[in-house]
């Protein structure tokens, strides 16, 4: 895995979150999914399915328990993609 792979993941997440949260606000790695973007559990689970399909990986939903920010979600996806 490379730096560009990580950037690819963060770019995808930011694009999709902008669409799902229906906001033009700047989304950064520090942006909180719940308190700042109001991403509820259903939206998050649907986003996870999209990410799984994009990268052909499996993301267990119980791995999301501790995820609060975009950066933490990107780190999780990157880790699983690296191990795949």
């Amino acid at each position: 895995m490379t730096e560009s792979s990580y950037q690819e993941i963060t770019q995808l997440l930011c694009d999709r979150l902008n669409s799902i949260a229906n906001t033009d606000a700047q989304i950064t790695l520090e942006t909180n999914l719940i308190s700042q973007l109001s991403i509820d559990s259903i939206k998050l689970l649907n986003l996870i399915m999209e990410i799984e399909d994009t990268f052909d990986i499996s993301i267990p939903i119980n791995a999301l328990t501790d995820i609060q920010t975009v950066g933490e979600l990107a780190d999780l996806v990157y880790k699983i993609k690296s191990e795949a």
Partner: protein
């Protein structure tokens, strides 16, 4: 950061925003129950279309008599768990009867249907294992998976292409994967594509658990559920279900031909650390199971009522769940429309279930009817006519 109590306040505020003016759609007070189809809510005598009393057996004389006799003979409760306090004759007899009903080697009775899934799933899988579940699974399945510590992977509801894709991605981990599906899904009333699930389960060499909570008593000649309707009983590894719907009591079960099922009694916390079902509960369940097994006439009536109401609502212009059946969900565009329909039905003395996001799948808002075999043709016609009368008023309501 909010403290613990402030978090509950925030949750209460969100609920109040959805249900203004003190509307008590959830946990509605039922003052008196008159029969399998009628009760009193406030000062209204209402038609019950919001129960899961599919065969209409809540007042079956055989079940009431059995419960009375059990209380007289064995008292009101067992006062403890089966592990510590012992298994009564009735517990063991009911387990044998369920195993016999499903032609399985053994069966286990749990204190609630919720615990049947919690206990079976958490007993079968653990950390390092995987559960592959339908996205519309009941909370008891999600909670059982979480309790187990296994990795939880969802597939899109009833989407077998999606399911196979996720099985393939698991690679060697499929060897320790449990697939879970439901006979009838409680929100939209649709059935699992069991033949295809079984094909994939065999192709990938997984274990399959099917929850027949809503399909027990409803599907199949003798009421076994989807396994009987599809002729796939032998292909499903574990079957769970509840007593609280067609069997009109409370409790749950798991049956299997795998002898390892018995080990669940020693590893499953939801089985071990809870009081066992009361004698009256077990006795009425045993009586109801006997009625269910020979209840093909009740099932015919149930399906006649269900298809009649489904067609009437469809003709009236409602968007419904995909499969006709006893669970009939009208899918509304907004929570406000669903609430408006629910309130107006109650004003017409009809009680149904209101289901708002996030409880319903895909953020849908539902008004759900549960039909039963005891509903008369006149009652079904009245419900259908009332839905039809309200359609334009409700659906023209835009935010």
């Amino acid at each position: 950061m909010m403290n613990l109590l402030e978090k509950l306040d925030a949750s209460a505020a969100a609920r109040k925003a959805l249900l203004p003016n003190g509307v008590g759609a959830f946990g509605i007070p039922i003052e008196e129950v008159y029969s399998a189809t009628e009760a009193r809510i406030g000062d209204r005598r209402v038609l019950l279309l919001g129960t899961n009393n599919y065969l209409g057996l809540t007042f079956a004389p055989e079940c009431i008599r059995a419960a009375h006799e059990a209380i007289d003979k064995e008292g009101t409760g067992t006062t403890g768990s089966r592990m510590a306090n012992g298994s009564y004759f009735g517990h063991r007899a009911l387990e044998r009867e369920f195993a016999d009903f499903y032609r399985c080697g053994s069966g286990i009775v749990f204190t609630t249907g919720y615990q049947a899934n919690l206990g079976t799933i958490s007993g079968l899988v653990g950390p390092g294992d995987t559960v592959l579940i339908d996205g519309d699974s009941h909370a008891s399945i999600y909670d059982g998976c979480i309790l187990s510590g296994a990795d939880i992977i969802r597939f899109k509801h009833n989407d077998m292409v999606d399911m196979e894709k996720r099985l393939r991605r698991l690679g060697a981990r499929v060897e320790t994967t449990l697939i879970i599906a439901e006979g009838i899904y409680s929100m939209l009333g649709d059935q699992a594509p069991l033949a295809e699930i079984v094909r994939l389960k065999k192709a990938y060499n997984c274990i399959l658990l099917l929850d027949e909570a809503h399909s027990l008593g409803v599907l199949g000649e003798t009421g076994q559920g989807l396994v009987e309707k599809t002729g796939l009983l032998e292909e499903v590894d574990f079957i769970t279900g509840t007593f609280s719907k067609s069997l009109c009591s409370i409790g749950g079960f798991c049956v299997s031909n795998h002898p390892q099922l018995e080990q669940l009694r020693y590893v499953s916390h939801p089985y071990i650390f809870t009081a066992s079902p009361s004698p009256a509960t077990i006795a009425s369940t045993r009586a109801a199971l006997e009625l269910l097994r020979k209840g093909s006439d009740l099932r015919k009536q149930l399906w006649s009522n269900s298809t009649q109401l489904y067609s009437r609502l469809q003709d009236a212009g409602y968007v419904l769940g995909p499969d006709p059946g006893p669970v009939i969900a009208a899918i509304l565009d907004t929570p406000q429309q669903a609430l408006l329909l629910w309130q107006n039905l109650l004003e017409h003395n009809i009680y149904v279930n209101l289901i708002l996001p996030p409880a319903a799948p895909e953020g849908k808002s539902l008004v759900r009817c549960s039909v039963n075999a005891a509903h008369t043709p006149e009652q079904i016609a009245y419900v259908g006519d009332t839905f039809a009368k309200l359609h334009d008023m409700v659906c023209s309501n835009k935010p």
